[in-house]
Symmetry: C2
Subunit: 211 residues, 2 copies
DNA sequence: CCCTGTGAATTTGTTCACAGCT
DNA sequence: AGCTGTGAACAAATTCACAGGG
């Protein structure tokens, strides 16, 4: 599976997958590219290109078979393999993440949380043990963790990120308001809430921009 | 100020602004494009193009003057005008947002929260009054709110979003795992945590992709 | 028909390369 | 020398437009 695939495409594929799951639960079995496009807010051509990328082919008369796309997507996105996730920073946001991932999405689950506050360490929150951040590398190794959520204050984000990488983390979602500097090969997804709001504020003013 | 400006550029400008603020607090007065680029994880050419877009011009010998860029950025991003923000959904994530924006960034502040749970309504959390979601439109009008965070369960996200728009909201940050369908002219920024993690999981596997 | 798959064209975004300045 | 500003080249992403098929 060496095909070059863009970040945007991967995002859309994840969105499609979620939509198709829902439709499947609701009993639907087939749909057309333009229908999926409408639900994902994407053009029909885009949907077709994206599905081409995962190697799935629909039929012209019945469109796409939901079960079959889901299978292709699962194979392509490698969703079967269970991947353990760590969370660093059990503040409000960290707890929101724990709560959000509790139970569901069994193949991506938060198996360990970390915080520096002794008030929090030792406890179990939403089914997840909270360790002292000092044990970071050890626990990551023990639990075979290679992914992480970083939800710590910006001042310590870089230091914690370095330790995550030292502990074997290969990809992380960064909520801290800092651009991290990490070795190539470590994938960082920025989730910058302040920037998101500023961006919305910027575009919300000006009438009808479709930027 | 009719110049077309891309979403990516606006994001980067917000990041620059934050970095420059920090440098300014630390007493630095000038920097070069490649320095800012390093801090923002962006190429020097990109920085220069972006700053060109806001109409700021540096000098070749001293580089950019931090105070002056900040002034240009403030003018361009329209940061002086105070804009009130609403929050719908006072769960874990909602509280994280309230906490995050408490006090700081005085020009973008959460002035009203909403929830359906009577346990939460009527209380003041992190300095923000929590109203019953039934009063949504009224309070938005009263408080002159045109921006919002949407942090409600996916099943109700579309309905709430429609009401936000009816109440005068022109832009929102959506944390719910649904693609919203809103009239043109309303700007939506998707903050999809599950997709972010799935994306990271996808790329974290494959060694050194720079996608 | 109305679908899918896909070359070709287009638009958008980024980097290269260098002129001009001090 | 080393910087900025920017045309030109390049790369990426998206849309157009249409062939092919039941």
């Amino acid at each position: 599976m060496a095909m070059r695939i863009s970040e945007r495409t991967v995002e859309r594929l994840c969105v499609y997958r979620r939509i198709l799951f829902r439709l499947q639960r609701e009993g639907q079995t087939h749909l057309y590219s333009h229908q999926l496009g409408k639900l994902a807010r994407v053009s029909a051509e885009q949907v077709r290109r994206d599905l081409m990328a995962v190697g799935y082919t629909g039929s012209a008369q019945r469109g796409y078979e939901i079960e079959a796309i889901l299978a292709s997507l699962a194979a392509f996105l490698d969703v079967e393999r269970v991947q353990n996730v760590a969370l660093v920073g059990v503040g409000n946001l960290g707890r929101a993440l724990l709560h959000h991932f509790k139970g569901r999405r069994p193949t991506l689950r938060i198996v360990a949380a970390f915080d520096a506050d002794p008030e929090k360490t030792g406890r179990v929150i939403d089914g997840c043990r909270c360790h002292d951040v000092g044990e970071l590398e050890t626990v990551l190794r023990e639990q075979d963790v290679h992914l992480a959520f970083l939800a710590v204050p910006p001042e310590v984000a870089q230091a914690v990120a370095d330790r995550l990488v030292a502990g074997g983390v290969r990809g992380l979602v960064n909520f801290a308001a800092v651009r991290l500097s990490l070795p190539a090969g470590v994938f960082v997804e920025e989730m910058d809430i302040s920037v998101a709001l500023e961006k919305v504020a910027f575009y919300a003013g000006r009438g009808s921009e479709a930027p």
